[in-house]
């Protein structure tokens, strides 16, 4: 089989995705910063000025805690889903391990994510929230989100080879999830009987964990953490299994 250097090939593919994306933007990385800031401003205006809102304190950072994970999830899941079809020339002509393609697509989005996390932390500091020990939880919760999205991308990309409509299903799912993730509302606004379901959604769980860590300076609840970990690991395992199963006929359908 393929005897190459897995990590070197992965690094080169991530670098390619990243360079290609930013080379065609005159403002480059600036766009990564501008988009969440504009969204934060607009949503703060709508949900504090147009709709009345009892807790307007910290509202902008609270929103940013929702937007950064959601943006990463939605872009990485969508580009991951189309990655095999977009790179069909590689799949059909070069015997690299196929799972490297959706995974490196997600990892290329992580560079973008790192910039947005930097922005989020900078704004938290400017807001005067300060650093706390609970920040040590940040790599853990972000790590689980990346695992989760890798799993989704493996499933999405392999199914998309067989049914090209998959990307539209993913787009719709992302739109729906924008409302079902507590981006512009808080965990306490969710009726208690739905709370457990919210905790099972890793994106929602991450948003809540970020608010715990950055705004309230305490570690996320254990009930939330183990669900985040379990669902993320399960999704990744399912993704790898489904991908292995479906990749036998990629050549035929690409």
């Amino acid at each position: 089989m393929w005897t190459g250097a897995y990590r070197f090939a992965a690094a080169c593919l991530v670098e390619k995705d990243f360079k290609v994306r930013y080379r065609n933007m005159s403002l480059g990385l600036f766009w990564s910063l501008l988009n969440p800031l504009v969204m934060m401003g607009v949503m703060t205006f709508v949900f504090t000025r147009i709709f009345s809102n009892p807790n307007t304190r910290d509202f902008p950072i609270s929103i940013l805690c929702g937007l950064v994970p959601f943006n990463f999830y939605s872009t990485a899941f969508l580009t991951g889903t189309t990655s095999l079809v977009d790179n069909s020339h590689l799949v059909k002509r070069v015997p690299v391990p196929r799972e490297i393609i959706p995974i490196t697509t997600v990892l290329a989005n992580c560079l973008h994510l790192a910039i947005q996390i930097g922005l989020l932390l900078a704004i938290v500091l400017i807001w005067g929230k300060g650093v706390s020990v609970s920040w040590l939880w940040l790599p853990v919760v972000w790590g689980f989100e990346i695992l989760f999205v890798c799993g989704l991308a493996l499933i999405g990309s392999s199914v998309n080879v067989y049914v090209r409509d998959t990307r539209y299903v993913v787009e719709s799912a992302n739109t729906i999830l924008f409302w079902l993730v507590p981006i512009f509302y808080s965990f306490s606004a969710i009726p208690p009987r739905f709370r457990e379901i919210y905790q099972l959604n890793p994106i929602a769980a991450l948003v809540m964990a970020l608010r715990n860590i950055l705004l309230e300076h305490h570690a996320p609840a254990f009930s939330l953490l183990w669900r985040l970990a379990a669902v993320s690991c399960f999704t990744l395992a399912a993704g790898l299994l489904i991908f292995r199963r479906l990749q036998r006929r990629f050549y035929t359908y690409l």
Binding site: M1, W2, T3, G4, A5, F8, A9, A11, C12, L13, E15, K16, K19, V20, R23, N24, H89, L90, V91, K92, R93, V94, P95, V96, V161, Y162, V163, R164, D165, R248, Y251, T252, Y253
Partner: protein, 259 residues
């Protein structure tokens, strides 16, 4: 040692392979209609020993590219087995891993990693690759500004540096200008002299006889003949000439498959 061994390999494709919309899947599921199969290869057995160079000849659609895809491990057979040993590198389509927005150097790195070199091997081979490609002025320019001949040059230069026991080559020797083609031939001859193997698909008779000692002839997915290059080419060309005469045109001497 056999690097590649095909044992009664068959491979079929669904007749409407391109239809991958939800609608098509639903229609098929509702009507319960099984797809018609198109056999690209039927019951093909052969082996390539280490150090041997084998040509695959046959008209368009005979199954040659499918055979290389199976040998490269890009696709699994539907029945039979394909055994592969050693490092097998592909030259199936030059520049397939290239991205138009990347510069020559960036494409070089990316493709070296895709053919299986590690970081150290890539930096060691770097000078040799750029020398071989011979387009130093363009290595820092994005590939979309390159001519197609230049892309092929760099792609071949990277591919030939794969540390392989065997190359699978699909019609890619006819790239670049005459001087570069000569360089490619010399590099390949050098590779074979050092004990490397080649599985070579080509319609160019001259190249086939130069590179290979053995040949196999595929026709409509079946192995017609496996033997020395001279015998197989004679049999294949004989059949092609007859087919051409039936069609009322003289057979081309240089290009078996034309027009």
């Amino acid at each position: 040692m056999a690097l590649i061994e095909f044992d009664s390999v068959s491979k079929w494709f669904p007749h409407s392979g391109g239809r991958t919309l939800l609608r098509n899947h639903l229609v098929r599921w509702v009507t319960r209609k099984h797809r018609e199969k198109f056999y690209a290869l039927t019951n093909v057995s052969f082996r390539v020993e280490s150090g041997e160079s084998v040509a695959v000849v046959g008209s368009n659609g005979a199954g040659k590219s499918t055979l290389l895809g199976l040998a490269a491990g890009l696709v699994a057979p539907d029945s039979g087995t394909v055994e592969r040993k050693g490092r097998i590198a592909t030259m199936l389509e030059l520049g397939s891993g290239f991205h138009p927005d990347l510069t020559g150097n960036e494409n070089l790195m990316l493709n070296a990693s895709l053919i299986g070199l590690n970081r150290k091997e890539t930096s060691e081979a770097y000078d040799s690759i750029t020398d071989f490609a011979g387009i130093p002025d363009f290595m820092n320019e994005p590939q979309r500004t390159w001519s197609s001949g230049m892309v092929a040059r760099l792609a071949f230069a990277v591919a030939i540096h794969a540390r392989a026991d065997m190359f699978l080559i699909d019609e890619v020797l006819a790239v670049g200008d005459t001087a570069f083609q000569e360089k490619c031939r010399a590099a390949l001859a050098d590779f074979r002299r050092k004990g490397g193997s080649v599985l070579f698909v080509s319609h160019a008779v001259a190249a086939v006889s130069e590179v290979c000692t053995r040949a196999i002839w595929l026709d409509h997915g079946q192995l017609m003949l496996d033997g020395s290059v001279r015998d197989v080419l004679a049999a294949y060309q004989g059949k092609a000439a007859i087919a051409a005469q039936v069609a009322g045109a003289p057979a081309s001497r240089h290009d078996i498959d034309a027009p």
